[in-house]
Structure formats: C-alpha cells, structure tokens
Chain length 519, copies 2
C-alpha cells in the first residue's frame, strides 16, 4: 500500500464518504488511490472555492467531514474564502493539499509557495506529512481534529513522494468525535439567570440550534418566561412549527444595541457575546450594553444541546409548547421586491427543505416571512465571505439526497463561485437556485450612504453597480447545462418555484428585483 | 484630508493610474476617495482573482504598479493565486486591503481572519497601517517596495479608522525605481564563459527578455558563437524578426536534461538555474547536468538589460544580426488540433500584438509556430497557477490600448476566472480570447500516465474530464455580454481570428479541439 492509498484507507475506515476535488499534478496519486481503495465518492469542482464551499454545506448537513483535494498553495488559496465561512460555522472539513516531493521543494520550483502561511490563515489544525511511513497516523490526526466539537478545519499537506512511497506503518483510527460537556456550575449560573424571567434573554448558537436543543430552550422559556433569541448569523438552524420563534440580533449595530437594550441578563447557549459585523465611525464593537450581565451556559465549542437539556431539567421545565400552525401566505402578485420574493418562497417552500441563504440585501426578508412556515433547515453565511451559496447547496444536497435545497443568492455574490452550477448539474442534485438580480452591490451603496457619501461620484457608481453590461444569468446557467427561467412578478416567481421544487435535478430562477432596499 | 484620500493622493503623485477593484464595506472610504482625488481609474472586477490577474497583466506591460482593492482576508485570498503568478513574474503590484477599525479587530468579528498570514504567503512586502497620521508614508513605502527591480508584490492593510480619520502627516514621495547593476567581476566571468563559443549557453530571463537586452545578447552570440536560450516560462518576452531565436528549456524534466546536456557552461542573464516544474518518482530537481559550469551574469532582481549591454561591450560584439524575414504559414485546413490552432494564430497575428498564453497542452505549439512571426510581446503564466489568462489580457489591454491582445486559453483554466469576460466587455478592450475546448484537464491525464496509471478508473476519469455536461463557452460569453463564435476547422478558426483582430472590443472564439495531445 502506498501513502496515497493509506490516506484514502484511513478516511474510508473513519466513515468519510465524499471528496470535493479540483486536483492537479501533485494530487495525481491521491486521485488514483480513490480508484484503488473504493468508498470515497469524488465530486469534481471546476474551481477550488466550489470544492470548499460544497464541503462546508456537506459538513453542516452530514455532521461529519468531507475531504477536499486541492492543488498546492495557489489551489488551496482559491478555497480559503469558503473555508473561512466553514471555520466560522464550525464545520468539520479535512483538506488534502498535494505538494512537491520532500526532496524537491527547496529547489523552489515555480508552483512553490509559503503554503504553511496560507494554511495557517484559515485552519484550526495543520500538518505537513514528513514521510509515507506513518502517513495514516497523520491522516487520522487530521480527521480527529476536524471532528473536534462541533467541527474544525484540518489541513494536511501531502508531498508527492509521501503519496507514492510505501506506507510501512499501520492504518490508524481517528479519535471518536466528542463534544465537551459543560460543568454543573455553568448550568446553575444559567438557571439562576433564566429564573429572573422576561428581563433575561437566552441566546442560542452552534449546537444550541438543533431541534432537540431548541425544544429544551422552549421548555425553559415556558417555565421561566425568559426571552429566546438567535445570533444574527447561524451556521445551521432548524426551524418549524414545533420549534420556538427565535428573533435574531439585527445586522446593523444601532438596531442590535436597541434589541439587546431591553434586558438585564444575557445567557449564551453556544452563542457568542454579539459584536458588530463592521465597526463604524463613532460606533461600538460590543453590542451588548454594559449594564447587561452576560452568563455563559456553553461556549460554541461545547455541547450546547446537552447543556440546554441540563438547564431544562434544572428549571423543572416539563411542558413543551404546543406546535404552531403552519401558515403559508398567499402567492404574491406584482413586481418583485425582497418582500415579494420572500412571500413567494414562504408560499411554496416544501416541507423539510434546506435553505442556503446568501441573498444579502434581498435575503433579509426571508427569515421573518417564514417564521410560521413549514419545517426546514436554515443555513447562513456566517463568516461573511461571499461565494458560499451555490457551492454549499451542492454539498448540502449531496449530504441529504432526499431533501429539496433552495439557494437564496445575490447576483453579486453568486458570481464568485458560479462554476458550482456545473457541478450541481453534473451531480444531478435537487437544488433550486433563486438569484436576486438587481445589477448592483446594493449593500455597498447602503454602506456608502452610512459613511456619509450623499451623492455617488462616477467611481463610486462604477465600483458598486454592474448593470453595464448586464450579467445574463439565463445564459450563464445554459453555459453550465442548467435549465433556467427569468421572472418579473410574484406570480411568475411562485410558479417557477413550484415547478423547480416539483422537478428533479437543479434549476436556476433569475428574479428581476425592482428595489432591493434593506427596509 | 482623510487617510483614504492621503493613500490615493500618494498613489496619484507617484504616477499610479489604475486600480483593479472588488471592494466591500471596509473599503468604502477608499472608493469614495477615488472620486475625491481624481487620477486613478477604477476598474471593477466581479471576483478578486480577476483584479489581481489584471494587475499582473497591466504591470507586465506598463512596467509600473497598478493598485488592487480587495475586501479583508477572504477577498484577498481570492486574489492569491494570481498574485502568486505575478510574484513569480516579478510584476510590480500594490494591494490595498481594507480591514476592521484598529479598535474593533480584537473583538474578532465574523470577517476577521489571520490576514497577515494570508498576506505573508504571497507578498514580498507587507504592512498594516497603525494610524491615519502617517498613512502616506506607509503607502509610499508600499509603492517603493513594489517598484524594486523588476517588480514586487507589496500589500498594505488599511483599517477603516485609518481611512476615515484625519491624515495629519505630509504626503510622501516613494523612492524612485532602481535596478541593481551587476559588478564588473560578473561581466568578466560571463565574458570568459561566452568566449568558449558553442559549448556555452547564454540563458535570458526577467529583464534580459526586453528587446534591447535580446539585441545585445544576439550581438554576443554573433561575436562568440555561443548558444542562446530562454527559460521554459517567461513573464514577458519580446519576439520578432529583429530579435534572436530563443529555444526554450522543455517542460518535462527528461527533455530538459537532454536540452541542457549538450553544453559545458551555462551563463544566466536574469534567468534562474532551471529546476523541474514538478518532481517525479526517480526524477531530478536540478535540470542542469552536474558537469555543466553555471556562471551568473545577473540575478532576476538585477538589471539584466544593463548587464547584457556590458557583456556585449566586453566581447567587442558590434554587429547586430540582420532582421529575419517575417514568415506566415498558409491558413490551415481541417479539424483543429494544437498544431492547426497555432498555425491559424501564426497566419493571422497582427503586428505588435500582445499574446497571453494560458493554453496549457493546446498552447505548447504556439511558440515554435511563431518563431519567425511578426513582432509581438509574449506573456506566460510562469507561476503555474491557472486562471491568469483572461484577467491578464484585460490588464495588458488597459496598459496598451493601441495594441491588439490575444488570449490563448484552456477550457479548464479559463473557467477559474471566467468573470474576467465581463470586465473585458465593460472596459471595451481589444482582446481576442481563443479558448481551446477539449472538455478535459488533458495535462492531468498525461500526468496520470506518467505516474504509471495505464487504465483510468471511474474516479480518475471523473476528476479529469468535464464533458458531462459540456461547458458551453458561447453561452458563458453571451452571459457576460461578449460576442462569441464556435469553430471546428482551421479555415473557420482563421476567419474568426481575422474578424476578431479587425473589430474593436473583446470577443471569444471557442475552438473545438479534436486531439490535444502534447506532441
């Protein structure tokens, strides 16, 4: 068994099933090993950001790592933006980077880079394999690291001679995934805090967003009268009529400060003490007023599901609130704005769908519009690096082949990893990609106004609008083999969504948005 | 004057004219400053790899830095692959990265990264601005660093408060660009070496590839009988009937070793001692046989044009060789293979064109086919990170608006930064993009065979072919507003090239390649 085969064997033994790949010459032996050791499905991406974004979507839904296979430093670099999102979402991923042979690298061939610096910029764990002998141990360590609760980015750099040389050492089993449990003292502090009732807010994040954890939180709310809330962005959140209504911390700082201003105590269950997404002139960093006491029930890296269960027990919270009725709004009519779009989605979203939201300004209306919608899983871009939507939907669909996936996508952000459309077609996944076309980086124009620019000069317009020429999404979709339709009214959008959800395979809907103002 | 304005003022004063931008919220004040301080033309890219690749093409042709403007760590990361190419090509570039305010970063907001690690992976110089007070000094230092001969990657991280705060310090002028001159001893060693005649090879690279430097090298060859050669990949090389024929070191190591085997002495004029692009099992790193004496006339960072002038003088080389006749092959006929494609290009290439070659396996035939072609500038992807072609042509065309630009592009590599087509249309540049469509990563299949895989398994095929579904380049071009045509024969390709070069603005030609084997 050569080193490449030992890597794949270690992964297969650990239950790894998918590898999102964009290989090059230095990964050729790993490609060959995927044939020689069956068990890992290779999924080709025609750009590395597609591979890493898909691995993120996959990991969030599967709860276990996918592999990525990328080409040296530059190939890895193309995947960093979506790895950043995955890291912020605490998704388990194992990146494999092929590299020059150990004896060749110091000759500094053209594709040589400071790859360790690049890897360090976005990984929780990294290692460069030194020899094929114990390469399985290195791979097992990578898998173990990726599975540290709830998930980490682990990157293994594999020189080609370590791929083709004989792997003399044994195949090693990774450590089992474990979620750290919180101490009884943390539960007791949280119990005392929620007992104060409606002046306390229990904020859920990370593994506090599962269905079971939310149910426990709802019981606590029912027993104590405390408020419940969610972070502005959650990596994965279950939603539905059996789960509590979770207001989110608003995006802009002044609104967030107001949101948090009405409480005395904030209890964090897998959530972080909220900070501003961006700092503004004269603005604040921490959003929680200084007068508010912050109590940590569980850190994002702890098992918040378990912690909330303990809290429910400690508060003697027995009753689960009754399920709410699923409310679907009527199909909307007229020109499409963000509210109309959200209404069309709320009217048509299938039971048990997965929604990947990278709609930016046009996507903000989705969450409130589906507060009483059918059960679904909600994925957000909580790292803020655009280009996640289309790839993550690919990965989520591969993890959950029996569920329908909806991408809410901005026309600016969608273009970053547009090559994902091709992989969606290739893999035949059930993804409906809803692209909001407003021909501009609307959020940047909002930010220019916030920065005090009242009238946009030619350069400000030139760098925030992209309507000349228009990007024709129907043509792009066709170029990647994907059926697509353009819609201009609520009626057309509703019909297109219904058709998209009914038919197998991926499709794209370009919604011409007449006004995508935030409010 | 605020900090952002001071940055732009410093750049304008130093002669910087273009900024390839993909800004976000943390660059908004720099965007506004481009309006407030006129002189720098903003060019919007809808993906950062387009911005950095365009800056590379611009810098190679303009001989001075463009700015890039990118959004925090993830935005910068998207541009790293092409910055790697630029660094290997020694192109001057100044990257501006907006970042969180100095007082906000330690709260670790979602878009925070270890940006310094990412920057370190690909920059020759980097600095994070600490306050607006002396931000002009920081910017001047960045410009100075980028202009260190022949060019460097300089990256300045600019926290937003340093953009909006008052810049109290003076506007600082960067150091003038200087090329280090070689010592007389180096010239004397090289003179003794070339005097040995045909058993000596004088290899040109970096600033040894300019027209003047090549003319001096040709005079040395005529006076001494030594051989002339070029590196496998050159960042920029002038070619034409008045310039010498420069055989290149072959790409695959075994052929390169043979190429270098027939000499006793290798004189390097801006070139590096050749090493294998990749290391193979049982293969070598250095390509120059141990028996060959290596003499360095000038390092790539030294002024090789000056050094070759001194060498010509030292060898008493007076006569320039007579200009060769421009030979154009007849227009080819029949199905398109790499040779037919190269012949069509050689038959139609306009005088004084710029050719950006990212044709990979289909591009190898271009260089020999145009050995006696009209004068042109030849740009290669000498860092090996694919995705450079389409963006670099954009940048080259902006630097040289009076010249025609031809991109030789693989269908695999072209997809990495396909968004460049949009910017080409937006800017109305005279670029003909010739995409060789063979529906596979042909080079990887060659490498699989070289690695001993005789029959490709399903995963090996799945990860090296992308014909299902076909990527339809005509649709992609249309999606970005670019006229495009598909050709299947030498006649059609020749006609399409003629039309493309005759008409203003960009276009795309998809050449259906029937066999793109390397030889």
């Amino acid at each position: 068994m050569n080193g490449a085969q030992a890597v794949v064997r270690t992964a297969v033994n650990a239950g790894v099933e998918v590898c999102f790949a964009n290989p090059g010459t230095s990964e050729i032996h790993l490609v060959a090993a995927l044939d020689e050791i069956p068990g890992v499905r290779g999924v080709l991406a025609q750009f590395e950001g597609v591979a890493t974004g898909a691995a993120d979507g996959y990991g969030r839904m599967a709860g276990k790592p996918a592999l990525t296979l990328v080409h040296l430093g530059p190939g890895f670099a193309n995947g960093i933006a979506n790895l950043h999102n995955a890291r912020r979402g605490r998704t388990p991923i194992v990146n494999l980077i092929g590299h020059h042979p150990t004896w060749h690298r110091n000759y500094d061939p053209p594709l040589n880079t400071k790859v360790e610096s690049l890897v360090d910029g976005v990984s929780d764990w990294q290692r460069t394999v030194a020899s094929a002998d114990h390469i399985s141990r290195d791979m097992a360590a990578a898998i173990s690291a990726s599975r540290r609760h709830p998930g980490q980015i682990a990157t293994l750099i594999v020189p080609t001679d370590c791929q083709w040389n004989e792997a003399r050492g044994p195949i090693v089993e990774p450590a089992p995934p474990l979620g750290a449990r919180v101490a009884p003292e943390a539960v007791e502090r949280a119990r005392a805090a929620v007992a104060r009732g409606e002046r306390t807010m229990l904020m859920l994040g990370s593994s506090g967003n599962t269905a079971a954890a939310q149910s426990d939180a709802a019981r606590v709310q029912r027993a104590t009268g405390c408020k419940l809330a969610a972070e502005t962005f959650s990596g994965r959140m279950e939603r539905g009529p059996r789960l509590p209504v979770l207001p989110r911390v608003p995006y802009f700082p002044e609104q967030a400060v107001e949101f948090l201003g009405g409480i005395d105590t904030l209890v964090l269950a897998g959530a972080l003490d909220p900070v501003a997404f961006f700092g503004y002139e004269g603005g604040v960093s921490r959003l929680t007023p200084e007068s508010v006491e912050v109590v940590v029930l569980s850190h994002p890296t702890e098992d918040s599901g378990h912690a909330l269960g303990e809290l429910a027990q400690a508060t003697d919270a027995k009753d689960e609130p009754p399920a709410r009725a699923v409310e679907r709004p009527p199909a909307p009519t007229g020109p499409i704005d963000p509210r109309v779009a959200a209404q069309a989605v709320a009217a048509t979203l299938p039971e048990n769908a997965i929604v990947m939201d990278e709609g930016i300004t046009a996507g903000f209306a989705f969450y409130p519009a589906t507060m009483n919608g059918p059960a679904h899983t909600y994925l957000q871009e909580n790292g803020g690096a655009i280009g996640l939507g289309l790839p993550a939907s690919l990965g989520a669909a591969i993890a959950c082949p029996d569920r329908k996936v909806l991408t809410l996508e901005g026309d600016g952000s969608g273009l970053y990893t547009v090559q994902a459309l091709w992989s969606q077609v290739r893999e035949g996944v059930d993804v409906v990609n809803l692209v909001f076309a407003n021909d501009m980086y609307r959020i940047l124009q909002v930010e220019l106004q916030r920065a005090g620019v009242e009238e946009f000069g030619p350069q400000s317009l030139n760098l925030t609008e992209f309507g000349a020429p228009r990007v024709e999404w129907l043509d792009l979709a066709r170029g990647f083999g994907m059926p697509a339709v353009q819609v201009r009214t609520g009626e057309e959008l509703t019909a297109a969504l219904e058709r998209g959800f009914a038919e197998p395979g991926p499709c794209l809907i370009e919604a011409m948005v007449s006004d995508s103002a935030l409010q």
